[in-house]
Structures are given as C-alpha cells and as structure tokens.
Symmetry: C2
Subunit: 339 residues, 2 copies
C-alpha cells in the first residue's frame, strides 16, 4: 500500500494525497475528507525512507554514548536523563536512534559518518571520561548536537550540565551549618569536566567558609566504584585521624567509604558524617541511609530536548545551561532534619 494506491482509490493525483498528508492548506475540504477516509480505511502509512530521501529530514535523533561509558547505557544518571529526553522529544515528533558502538569501533566508523548515513536531524551526546576524537568531529559538523556533561563548542551545539561547583558548595555549606569544620574529600582523578568542577568547587567552598583542607583529607580514589571508595577511605584512616565529615564525589564512593569506616569501628554519622553525590537508588537502603546530592535529571533531559529542537529549527548560538542540584538529606550526614 503506497501513495499511488491511495491516489488511485480516491481518484486524485499523488501530489494531492501528499499535500493532504502534510497538511497543506490549499486543498478542497471535500477532497481532503475523501482522501483522509480512504487512508483511514486502508490503514495507509507513508514510508519514512521515501520521505527522508526526498526531504532530507528523518525525524530521528541519534543517541551517542561517548567516552568510557561507551559500551552501554546502564548508569542510572544517564538512563534518567535519556528517559526524560525521550519523553519530551517524542512529544515534539522525533524518535530515537541508538548507534551501536560495536560494529563501529571494529570498522573504524565515526559518529559523523553514521549521523550522515541515517540523516539524523540532530544528536544527543552523553559523556563519560576520555571522550574519543570522533565526538568532536560530530560537534564541529553541521549536525545539531546537545551535550550532557560534555563541553560541546560547535556552532550548532549546546550543552547542559549540573552546576557541579554548586553541588560541592551545597555539601560544604550543609556540613558547615551542622557545625563540622574539618571536612574531607574523596573523588576520582578529575578526567571529566564535572569531576573537575566538583573538586575545584569543593576547594572554593572550603575557602569561602574559611575552613582549611588538610592534605591527608583530600584523596583521589582511582575509579568511581564502591571498592574504590572503600580502599581510599581505608588509606585515609590509616594515614591518621579521619575528618569529621566527608564528601564523596559519587554515591558508590560514599557507600564504600562507609563500609571502611564501619570496619574500622567508626560510626556514621556520629564519628564521621558522610555525603555522596547522584542519589542512586541504593542510597535509600544503605545503613545509615545516605545523604546525597540529586542532579535534576528530569529537567536536564527535558531541557536537552527543547534546546535541541531549537538548534534544529532556528538559528541559535552555542550556549551552556547549568542545572541546579538539590540536597537530599537522609541520615548519614547527622542532620537533625533527618530524624
């Protein structure tokens, strides 16, 4: 069943049918109804590829998972962002195309090539550490791109990230208000922009509140995982007195740190208060429940959709949007509010 059949059945030309499909105004109402009825009855659906071939618009958005997270999309943060994005961009009439990175690497293909191949109208780039060159080729091309947690600078790109300095500021401020003056930090070597900002933001916030950061209380964790937090906290304890309060740059690091503290006979939050970052599901079920910072993934995803839509449909400058993070108070910080 194609447009020719419909035209034939309705006794009009394919041009007329096409115009009706695309809501052109200058069609006789009677004709329109007749054709519409036939399309309805025959359950006719135009073909995406023919339309794309002729219009150069696919109504498809390419989804790029860049950097170390390349292999999958299992991190809750990204899943939440993509979810919100999908919802909003769906409302705007687009579907999502996930590039499989596998065949990809194998054949040395790049994102730009694949974007062209599928003629996607735009891309969303979600990023971990150590982003590959190919992402920046995409960024520099005329394919509209929206970055999440990655600094895209192309003329047809924008990017969105949480205000990571603010994350650290909120944590330090919260600790300060609880009366802690001796605050420590555990985070991965800052390979990505967000991690850089969390660390420098932490240092800036400490300074702002007039607190000194003992060198032995600020340690790199290697990775992002529970094991890394555990090992790093152990190192910190063994190097001397641990800080009164600890900010871990990810929840898993915090969870690992709490395990180390418990093993060394230190109580959370009575001896050491702990705050993580991300608000993964596990935070609610740890012992004690973990106070953390929640990134507003809902807003990030939705905003990404709106920005990308504008990028695809109007002239727009490159810009960066920061999204406000939120403190989620549970028990591990020793806050009264959590009782």
């Amino acid at each position: 069943m194609n447009i020719k059949h419909i035209a034939h059945l309705a006794g009009v030309s394919v041009a007329t049918v096409s115009k009706i499909i695309n809501n052109y105004p200058d069609i006789g109402e009677e004709t329109r109804q007749r054709v519409l009825k036939i399309m309805e009855e025959t359950k006719y659906r135009p073909s995406s590829s023919a339309r794309t071939l002729s219009t150069k618009k696919s109504h498809l958005i390419g989804v790029v998972f860049a950097g170390k997270l390349n292999v999958d999309f299992s991190h809750p943060f990204f899943v939440q962002v993509i979810n919100a994005f999908k919802k909003q961009i769906g409302l705007l009439g687009y579907d999502l195309l996930f590039f499989s990175n596998e065949k990809f690497l194998e054949e040395g293909e790049d994102y730009l090539a694949r974007s062209n191949y599928f003629q996607v109208d735009g891309c969303i780039v979600i990023s971990g550490d150590e982003v590959e060159r190919s992402v920046f080729d995409l960024d520099a091309s005329d394919v509209p791109c929206i970055g999440i947690d990655i600094e895209l600078t192309g003329r047809h790109s924008c990017y969105i990230m949480s205000d990571n300095a603010k994350i650290s500021l909120k944590v330090v401020e919260h600790f300060y208000m609880l009366g802690y003056r001796d605050i420590g930090y555990i985070g991965p070597e800052p390979a990505s922009l967000p991690m850089k900002q969390r660390q420098s933001g932490f240092e800036a916030a400490m300074q702002m509140f007039g607190m000194k950061l003992a060198e032995s209380h600020s340690l790199y964790s290697g990775g992002y995982q529970e094991e890394d937090g555990y090992a790093t906290m152990l190192r910190m304890i063994d190097e001397g007195k641990p800080p009164r309060a600890l900010f871990a740059a990810t929840d898993l690091l915090a969870i690992g740190a709490m395990r180390a503290l418990r093993e060394r006979g230190l109580r959370v939050p009575e001896d050491v208060a702990v705050v993580g970052c991300d608000d993964i599901e596990a935070c609610r079920y740890t012992f004690p429940p973990l106070t953390t910072i929640k990134q507003d993934t809902e807003r990030m995803g939705k905003m990404a959709a709106m920005l990308l839509f504008d990028l695809m449909n109007k002239q727009m400058d490159n810009r960066c949007i920061q999204v406000e993070p939120e403190l989620v108070v549970r028990t591990s910080c020793g806050s009264e509010a959590s009782r």
Copy 2:
C-alpha cells in the same frame, strides 16, 4: 556527495559503485581498488534512506516497551537486557530504534504502523503488566519479533524469559537446606506471566518438599515497590506469627519487608530469613545484604539478538527459550556460606 559523484570521479557507472559497496564478487580487482580509494578519500557514505527505500531492509530494530513500563526504560532488569541485546545485535550490523510512546498514544498510532513506517527489520518487545492490544497486532504481523518476559505466539515471533518456576524452586530449596520449614511468600497480584510462574512455582516447590503453606503467610502486595513490601509485611506480622523465612517476589518488596521486620523488633536473618528476586544494585548495600535470585540478563539479551537474527534471516518456528536463574547468597537468608 552521493554515488553519482563517486561513479563520475572513478569513471565508472553507479551500478559498478553500488556493486562494490555491496561486495558483489564479479568486479575487476583493479576497478574495485580504484573506487574504494575514492570512497575513502571523499569519505563517502551511502544514504540509509535510499538504500532502505530500494531494498526494503533498514537494518533497524524497533524497541518496544510495552505495558505499564511503557513510559520509560528505567528498570534495571530491562536496561541490562537491552544493553546485552544492543551489543550483540550491533555486532550483527543492526542499530536500535526506540519508538517514543508519547506522540503515539496521543495520535492513537500503533506499533505495527510505526514498524512499517520505519521499515524496521524486526522488533524486540519488552514487557511489564497489562500489555496493550497493539503489541499483539505486531506479534501477529509478519514483522519478526522477540519477546522478553512476554508470551509472543506469532508465526514470526519467539520469546525469552527466565525460568520463573525455577526461581521459586531455588529459593524454597535453599531455605529447606538451611532447615527452615515454615516459609512465607509476598508478591504482587500475578498480572504478568513471570509473576504467575513465580507464585505457582513457589507453591509447587513447597509441595515438592512436603512443606505446608499457611494461608496467612502468603500475601499479595499490590505493587512491586518497597512501600508495598513494607505494608504487606506489617500486615503479615500483625495477623499473627510471621514465617521463619520469607521469599519476596522482587528485591524492593524484600527490602520493604526487612524494614517492617526491623521496625517490629524482628531480626533478619535470626528471626526471619529473607530472600528477594532480581539482584538490583541496592541488594549489596542493604542491612543485612539481601540474598536474591539473579536473572541472567546478559544471556537473555544476547540470546534475544541471536534468535531475532535467525527469525529475520531464515525460516523458524515460534518457540520459547527459558533462561536459568542463579541464586546469589548474601546475608539476609542466614546461610553459613555468606559468613
């Protein structure tokens, strides 16, 4: 840059270029090399839409999230399965197209119509409860479909699920070996096939081991969430003596139940042993860490890809593949092995 340019630059016809692109054997080696070189230099990539239009093959797989989970893909189980699926199907040369369900519902479109619109070569259907009619239209069509946790019966369909009866059997057996004879069950009203099988499998296993199931020890939880488990466990405790061991049909139910037990002054596992199901990340961080059943999502996703590939490329009967679940022993069951 299109095939015509390439043909022109190489001084051959477009037919020849096309044959080279598609690895036809009957092309002169010299010609082949010359054309290949030019394609390389110009970074030429064929257009997907033109190719699809002409071949009716898009090398795209539609991803359908059916039923109550419709709105997103945030459940860890599905994310893991899709991840594994994506990896394998990517290797086979396919990309993934996620249908946005939003515009969808609004316009009363159905999955089959969209599959035709994009000319996807096949679909993977992932399912929650209360699957909509439209999914079964898809199933009945000639679009090859692979179902995850949903019984697809079409001539071009297969489905995969964990052996859910086995899940319950493994739990009951584990409890039995630990010496518990008084075992309870909490699960949602069985709206989906997996939940039905877990429940009936549980009852069958109890019978197999000659244990009686007290009526007050088998309760419906309403939903799947932590809150549901909490409320249901409370009901069970208040109705009389709780069972010595409890199987909760999802981890979140188990976590909620543990909270209820703790609040009522009962210890896990000393007073009541608990086992959940799914192995969500949180299990490792609860207090005590939750023993659970892990579904082999890696294998399910990979197998889904292989089956779908066969479904798309050769004649194949409808069939159902069951995947073996695995017991993950932690502390909440009171097993020696976890010490």
